[in-house]
Symmetry: C2
Subunit: 164 residues, 2 copies
Amino acid sequence: MYQVSVPRFANILRNLSAILDKAQAHAEARKIDPAVLTNFRLYPDMLPMKRQVQIACDSAKGAVARLAGVEPPKHDDVEENFAELKARIAKTLEFIQTFKPAQIDGSEEKDIHLKLGQREIAFKGMQYLLGHALPNFYFHVTTAYDILRHNGVELGKRDYLANP
Amino acid sequence: MYQVSVPRFANILRNLSAILDKAQAHAEARKIDPAVLTNFRLYPDMLPMKRQVQIACDSAKGAVARLAGVEPPKHDDVEENFAELKARIAKTLEFIQTFKPAQIDGSEEKDIHLKLGQREIAFKGMQYLLGHALPNFYFHVTTAYDILRHNGVELGKRDYLANP
């Protein structure tokens, strides 16, 4: 359970941070207001890029905390620019990397209760990690990537996968 | 290793098939040529929607086959419309669901060699599944979703995650 969670979240969060560096460099080179990219949406009722990053971070933080049975720290969604989004990723990385394998391993059958809007969903630990937390995490990281790619930032699959 | 692969790929592939149903209904209701959606790209040098589906299928098929140590069947990339893409998903599902847990479990340390373009990468089984196959699979499913969402198809996160 540890191997499937902490090192995987950490690797992709580091890659996402490097992707934001490329987006920032792209904006600077073309004199694009960074807020245009951080607030960009692929459709009017989709979430903007900055929210994709924030939710990816919370998905990783919440998953690791819930599996370990601790309360995750609350990170307010206040980031507007690339430096702030990178700092959000950095503090998420710092938090999840405090966990030791012994705190997460063995949580396959742990009861996890999740509030999603009005719905309350009951999961077992492994079902939660594999069926909710990981696909949700990858969804938001990929959507952040897709938004930046759609805006011309030069990214490739290797920026997303990097060195697993 | 089985739990982390086959049921996860299968669940999301079924969800992707249902997402394509919604896209087809959207196209029919608005008299949009389905080829506009299946060929849509978020950026000129990104792959079109149909290729996102094909690669997601191949990512699942290749991962399960490699972990089990069998040669994956070759599926040619000939699909153009929603019915054909759904059939591609259906034959991928049929293939991966032939595998029993005993064929996949215990492959954590198995040597996996992957050719990515010009590069040849050596993985161990778990590193390959967690660090390459799963994030790559989710990347292409999410990008297919993002392309359809960008084109106004009414989708939500529940269409992607469904019932894990």
